[in-house]
Symmetry: D2
Subunit: 379 residues, 4 copies
Amino acid sequence: MNEIRVAIIGGGGFMGYAHSLGWALAPITADAGAVVRKAVLVEADEERAKSAAQRLNWEEWSDDWRAVIARDDIDVVDIVTPPGSHAEIAVAALQAGKHVFVEKPISNTLQDAEIMQAAAEKSSSVSQVGFNYRHAAAITLIKNMLDDGTLGHPLQFRAHYTQDVGALGRVLSGWRAKKSAGGSGVTGDIGSHIIDLASYLVGDIESVNAIVGAKNPKSNTAWLSDEERKAGDHLDDAALWMTKFENGAIGSFAATVYASGRKNRLFFELECTGGTVEFDWNHTDEIKLSLVSDDPDKQGFRTITLNENHQDYWYPLGGMGTGYADDASLQLQKFVRAIVEGRPGTPGFAEATRTQRVIEAVMQSADNHQWVAVDEVTA
Amino acid sequence: MNEIRVAIIGGGGFMGYAHSLGWALAPITADAGAVVRKAVLVEADEERAKSAAQRLNWEEWSDDWRAVIARDDIDVVDIVTPPGSHAEIAVAALQAGKHVFVEKPISNTLQDAEIMQAAAEKSSSVSQVGFNYRHAAAITLIKNMLDDGTLGHPLQFRAHYTQDVGALGRVLSGWRAKKSAGGSGVTGDIGSHIIDLASYLVGDIESVNAIVGAKNPKSNTAWLSDEERKAGDHLDDAALWMTKFENGAIGSFAATVYASGRKNRLFFELECTGGTVEFDWNHTDEIKLSLVSDDPDKQGFRTITLNENHQDYWYPLGGMGTGYADDASLQLQKFVRAIVEGRPGTPGFAEATRTQRVIEAVMQSADNHQWVAVDEVTA
Amino acid sequence: MNEIRVAIIGGGGFMGYAHSLGWALAPITADAGAVVRKAVLVEADEERAKSAAQRLNWEEWSDDWRAVIARDDIDVVDIVTPPGSHAEIAVAALQAGKHVFVEKPISNTLQDAEIMQAAAEKSSSVSQVGFNYRHAAAITLIKNMLDDGTLGHPLQFRAHYTQDVGALGRVLSGWRAKKSAGGSGVTGDIGSHIIDLASYLVGDIESVNAIVGAKNPKSNTAWLSDEERKAGDHLDDAALWMTKFENGAIGSFAATVYASGRKNRLFFELECTGGTVEFDWNHTDEIKLSLVSDDPDKQGFRTITLNENHQDYWYPLGGMGTGYADDASLQLQKFVRAIVEGRPGTPGFAEATRTQRVIEAVMQSADNHQWVAVDEVTA
Amino acid sequence: MNEIRVAIIGGGGFMGYAHSLGWALAPITADAGAVVRKAVLVEADEERAKSAAQRLNWEEWSDDWRAVIARDDIDVVDIVTPPGSHAEIAVAALQAGKHVFVEKPISNTLQDAEIMQAAAEKSSSVSQVGFNYRHAAAITLIKNMLDDGTLGHPLQFRAHYTQDVGALGRVLSGWRAKKSAGGSGVTGDIGSHIIDLASYLVGDIESVNAIVGAKNPKSNTAWLSDEERKAGDHLDDAALWMTKFENGAIGSFAATVYASGRKNRLFFELECTGGTVEFDWNHTDEIKLSLVSDDPDKQGFRTITLNENHQDYWYPLGGMGTGYADDASLQLQKFVRAIVEGRPGTPGFAEATRTQRVIEAVMQSADNHQWVAVDEVTA
């Protein structure tokens, strides 16, 4: 079996922790065709690098990402730094001939994303962006039912990603708190996941129309005026947008951190000509499905608990239960398989750049109060 | 106790049936202060009037609504005809000094609604429009928690009213099928209920931005072009709109008859500074409530089953179960109480006219692809 | 159409209220073939009779049930007095040639039930006992799927009826508080409903094994000893029992008023060779159904919302919502139809007597800590 | 930090896979105070040992468990062989001075369990049995609310563990199919988990009363007679039992593999004087909680999604999602912490032997149709 040696850049934070879980499970659970070695963990501060590497079970540590990228014995560079530094590291890693995995969002700006996309196109390496939710077995099941015609043509998609951290007064800190470093707030942070899922399942988004509200930090109740919002370095913490998809479907999206009681809840429902499907990340191993073809007196939403009949569910018995770690591992399993089999990552840099373009369109629409065509957005 | 004698106009259809259930329960269950008599049922066709009156237990029947309105022994005129005829009958009844209950929507056009509003303002009678869902005990509970400060300031409201009749290929017939008679399709038919609830609970809607799609009757998958939609007499059967409320809250709405598996499902969730509340008509006797003030380790959505501690829940024991008939009765109970106590109906013609103005704004926005300010809409 | 004139005995309490709702809806909603008149309401105290009759819209009132039973213009006697007086009134009414509807449980003792059964067998009148839940459209749907083979052979039935009134410290008062008047506590009061449903859906119960605990009124935590329980006039407020059914299925039952958060929750799940079905009265209009015959990758519990495709659902559109009043009306509709068509009531006195025999077996098993065969229980 | 080296005996099957996942996550996620090395995987067949070790990322493999136990560089022996061989291996490992983790049930017979308990009592090593579900963060939350008085005194516990493998006709094979090797069927296999949880949360079980049914393999509908069941080597595949707890609480249990639609569903509800709590393994990261102390008009079941405020939930944000692998890791984390801190495992061999005694009592009661006192059961 192949051996793949990974270096993780910025591994001392939460995403380092999450990816370490993913890499720990991947070699066991996957048939991706390679044994993975957690080789080097990189952090700017050496003490922090050492401590994280020991706790997270990486073989070595370093405080110099450039030196690590230059090493011959590293096959994969896994980038989990803040989005503002993704482009520099990813481009360097690609140029060094490494396969590159980048945590989402691909970058803070469309400009950076386009640079990364160009570098990936010039390279023969595999590149992938960490939109992890699309790899959950439940999403694979829905995708398969769209591809094989079970669900028919998509008509209406409604999604929201809601959290309660703002409602509880937990203020963002560090780079996440500033628009200049953290980018587009909830739209880029959590909204990007539902844009990725929409693109993956429903199809390309043609145009968007948005309300983006940055809450006044001095008040829990009043919204900033347009002028205040544009002037400041505030991150938006609540957003609504509607979309028209290229295939004629329509969509409605929401992202907020002011939803009391919602614990990292990614939810969507998708109505199609053949049925409706519903997914809630808080019940990771379930989908709800209604089929038009069911007998009229027995029609209703089936709660399907994932089981051994479903692709990407890796236990021999349904209802064992999977979670974030399993999902983190699944996305890495697919990345590893892409490397072993010489296929593109999913989503690759091009697809993730398009998602970045939709985020930009949302921000522009919020500013100019107009429908914005995604293809006309420029970096 | 007072006795109130009711004439129902157009009572042979479904709404005649529904209102008859409501009138049957009202005298029993309410303390509204009046005994109600189901006096006369009117239908244009005499045979139909007779048959319905017997089946629905009305004392008399008639095929001449003008004659019935002229009778001295009638106190209340309950109008359940198609919306295109509401204005003529309601204005005549008000002029004859009757209290008037009109099934929603108040009318097909804003012009008609304004005429009705003017007639009501000139009259000393009670007028009310049948937005029944706002009278459910669950809605009263939410309203009370907004009024007493439990929920704090509204931030984001997301609602949808979804049905599967279109998905199942049940084509609308009669007046409901034509824009010229049935008005604004799903927006006016079911969407009006969530606009009414939003106005009642969250506050006045300032502006709207909409996508309204009339499905091509020849195809289950393709949407009409703007031109085709405007040119035809098609009713729209799916719509999305976003709103800004005057108090700074934002909203997202959907209405569709193409949602497989959804059986008359009116759903909303409302995020406020003090908590989140969720309601689903399919579970009429429940609300889900999360409170920011709950202990962090015990915070989560409470499923509150209505019980004897709640206003407008009329059984001595929680969980007995109420449904559409109970709700129909509750709205009539409030109408009767308004008559007995000399207070306005809820919603009265003025409030229902504003809802009609929002519907118009939705339709205009769908046509011109712009945000439309509700106050600037003209009839 | 036939006219049926009803006298209600003991109509001033909650069940008078509930049956009045039922009688109010029945003539409207049913095609049972008769117009029902709420003729006379009887209460021992005349003032109370008058007040209730006016509020509940009965034509007349009386304080003398014997006189009312003797009247020629009364067709139906509806008995909602405490169970200790059911036998006397029911037998008198049957002997007077009236059709008799008795609220459940049929009586306090098996002896009384057998007397009533004998009187019904001698009479040509229709007799029925108010086990209302079996008439819900959801139960009809399950019954039909058992009868037509969809569900296959019953294997295991688990039911509980839970309330929170004891948990909240609401002490029973009046006749309900004493074993001598109120009978067998939770087993007879709420447990009888799940025994009735089990018999109706699964089949006759062969033997039972029970734990019945009467809580010490002085303490919220300690259970009475066997001796204390037998010695006192305490009602049991929590019970568990297992059953073997004659067809080989097995069952588990619970009834309690000490279930915090449960609002009149009647719940069961039934596993059969062809599938599993689940019902929760708090979601009256739904069943959950899993079918062994479904495709393995699409197998799961369907939440079926009752609709126009289902027998006993009386609205033209699914998801309108029904509740306790509708159910009360459905059971009276069936009683009226039995009268009009000359068929037996459901359940009639014989079937309800067997349910009473199961209750007796539960109480005996709790006393002697043995399996008790239902057929060997004597009055 | 300490290093702990593990040998897994019987690691080529599903439990080897599951424990490997657990060991892979443990060093990362725990603060148990030790780095774990997956040192040796043992299988009777060398090829199988090698293949599993490579796939599951163990450093070495072997076909000789006795030789491995004799090695000085092994600290922990993790036994995942069929239960019939647990006693021999565990006793040998304890005698060799190793810490021993045994997959549940502790053994096939009470006699074996008592031998293991005696060996553990003589040893200074840590012993633990793999009742994994009690380590889920949701169970820890419930346990804490019982310990700190939030829930008050337990009154009634109802649990069931249901699967659909029998309903789907998936026949057990290998040692699992025979009573002589696989022990007590569903009671020991899945029922043991709910007995462990009941003992852990509610308290010691005093006596039991059971129905155990071994399905006739020739028929999907008929149950074996008592004689046939006792005579054969059939495993029972459905069971019901009631219990009295030593603290006065009462309980009802069910285990079956004939529950269509149930995917490894472990469910219980526990009513206490202070509230009710509900848990469903299919929604691993949730509990439902009703508190008597809540305001009457806001009382209802809270769905609490586990988050950073809860012990044993290891992500920094609620709702990330955990599953079987996380739970497997949590139980090993606790085992490691017991080793590092010199405390007993949970549950240790004594506690697991008592659970085995309850299983025996269930089997005896099913045979003799009597209540069986757990303390009077002999091996």
